[in-house]
Amino acid sequence: MRITPIFCALLLGATATVSAATAQTGITVAVQLEPPNLDPTSGAAGAIDTVLYSNVFEGLTRFAADGSVVPGLAESWDISDDGLEYTFHLRDGVTFHDATVMDAEDVKFSLDRARGDDSTNAQKGLFASIASVDVVDPLTVKVTLSEPTGSFLFNMAWGDAVIVAPESIEGNANNPIGTGAFKFANWVQGDRIELIRNPDYWGTPAPLETATFRFIADPTAAFAAVMAEDVDAFFGFPAPENIPQFQADPRFQVIIGNTEGETILAMNNKTAPFDNVKVREAVAHAIDRQAIINGAMFGQGTPIGTHFAPHHPAYVDLTGLSDFDPEKSKALLAEAGLADGFTTTLKLPPPSYARRGGEIIASQLRAVGITAEIENQEWAQWLETTFKGKDFGLTIVSHTEPMDIGIYADPDYYFQYGRPEFVAIMDELNATTDDAARTELLQQAQTMIAEDYVNVYLFELAFPTVAKVGLTGLWENQPTQAVDLTGVSWGK
């Protein structure tokens, strides 16, 4: 289903079409995946946040374009000395899109609903430490925690923690009512979602009057839609092989941003032979990261040596611990009593980083004597058998949640690490609010999982955006999965 760029270039020849220069107040953007429903507080699909985060829904705090956590619906907050009481001061005059007022009751409702027994919030863990939520007055909410949680304000910035209203919650799946700078207007399922500017927005109004999200899953169709200028921008452009062509075309700007997606070759730490750290280290040294980035991702992606985003200030470069060294790998296998190598499974979910990367990894492993039998799986199947059933030797997946090193503390998580010393670091991190101390602990954690070779850390997933020249205010990086259009405009 692909056309080579050369072929396209031949057919296109020297296309130089100038689009009519009219003052534009609307935008049509494309993303690959359509949200299954429009309620970010129930359902994990990143596509829900992609369309609605910040545009339609807002939380107490929010992620800024650079990944920092800034005030959202809460103007400011006070934290008690023991780190257990957060008093949020809400902005005055905020209304939902159905004209109901956003106040402390809505905040209490949203948080209680997310942490309740019958909650279907995909990130219920974000709310785990909340002991109670109390309304002090209409613009003040006091959240009491059962234990200090250093990442609490960060947690409240997630798309899963946005503030919803009890009046509209039932309909949010198909008619989302939030407080954001855009209002939901229309959803043609399978094709597009239309947003219009919210004239009553509490903050800086959006420069764009209308914004349409279109959903184009196929890479070839994505290429055609951008080239034909059917869409003004494509966020997360799915065909990296076509990027150079856009870079050379004066009609377009290409932004290669970072995501929070640590792409890893995960190993089943509880089953033989991966329960032996020597074998895990051998696998790590057998992998040539740059070859995978070049071969599978067409050069896009930053090598990582641990499960942490390289653009984060606390990142430690540990790639040297697992440098490409097949001889060392063979020696380690011999030490582990597997001089003749072994056979294992490599389960691959659908994204191209896994499917293309998997082929390269299998051949790199073969070079040191490890036979990895590739099995392609659909997402639902991967979740059921590999992730939940833990029926795998190796698998490739990108962990796209921000700051998710905590998953290594859970011994039941699919790669099954959970070393007690690591759990202790995480517990201490949770109880720490001081930035310098947190950085220190995060670095200890990164180093521990790298030295234990829990997984092979491959690269940080890149986020390519192709947009028409003239569009300004686009997010470069993806601190959370979001296409925030509230600051986007057609500059001249």
Binding site: M1, I3, C8, L11, L12, G13, T15, T17, E34, P36, N37, D39, S42, G43, A44, A45, D117, D118, S119, T120, N121, A122, Q123, K124, G125, A173, N174, V188, Q189, G190, D191, R192, R214, F215, I216, A217, D218, P219, T220, A221, A224, A225, M227, A228, D230, P350, N376, E378, W379, A380, Q381, L383, E384, T385, F387, K388, H399, E401, D404, I407
Partner: protein, 358 residues
Amino acid sequence: MPSLRGMGYFIDSFTVTACVIPRHRLRGDEPPCSIRKPTGQAAMIRYVLSRLTSLAISLIVASLVIFLVVEVAPGDPASYMLGVNARPDTVAALRIELGLDASKPQRYLSWVSGMVTGDFGTSYTYRSPVADMIGDRLWISLPLALYALALSTLIAFPAGIYAASRRGGAGDTAVMGATQLGIAIPNFWFAMLMVLVFAIKLRWFSAGGFPGWERGFWGGIKALTLPAVALALPQAAILARIMRSSLLDMLGEDFIRTARAKGLSRRQALWRHALRNALIPVLTIIGLQFSFLLAGAIIIEQVFFLPGLGRLVFQSISQRDLIVVESVVMLLVFAVITVNFIVDLAYAAVDPRLRTGR
């Protein structure tokens, strides 16, 4: 999208196994009325009744097979929706909310009884009524299938008749060569070629998508034109070949020789006597093609990002939206079986021997 083509075959095999095709219909050489029939009206009624019975049995068997196949596939819709960070209690809560905690026979019965009353249930992932979703998508898939079928018939009939009337000549060779090419070229490749030429280079059409019928009839037709052409060409090629060979078979029959002996020219005999008789195998193929166009446009819908039925099934399968998959596939089976039933009735219209039982 490596799994895409497999999907096409999956749906296709469904439609093919689901329709019960009497063997004689696939062979053009045998008159369809060779089955012995009693007299007149009674024969016609018995014929219709027997077709109706096989229609009902096919539907019941199909519903069972669809339910079992979809339920057996690994993957839980609730886990899929909640993703990798979900806690077990959250997944359990969602399973209860979606009604997935009921036993399989219970769910089968409520699904079937719901469908009989027109209630297709609520989609797990989209959280909206399945009937509405299918209705929306049908407004694209059905016009697209009809458009493609009309194009294919418009191309195939003249081409087939022309080739048959010029048998062995340069015209015949040219038409046959073109159809060979039409069958050989995969429709999605041809579709991408058309996008490059007409959407990117010439800018006559947009590269895909559908504006919606409410924004004007011609806009909708325009958006469906490239997909319809891509779908129609291979079908037209097949149909033209069937038309030609069926006509040539008829031209060799005794009754044509009689007509020629009475003084008709070859062309007159073709138009007046052979054409009508040659239509039976052609109708069979048109019926099968319509079913294929309705259900098998998944790849084309993906290339042109059209929100049609095929894309709905494709999305629903990957999201394990079981109830949508079951209902859409069931609907397609129903459509195929109904089309076959109509084709059976059309035989009777074309072939007077079936009506009179002579």
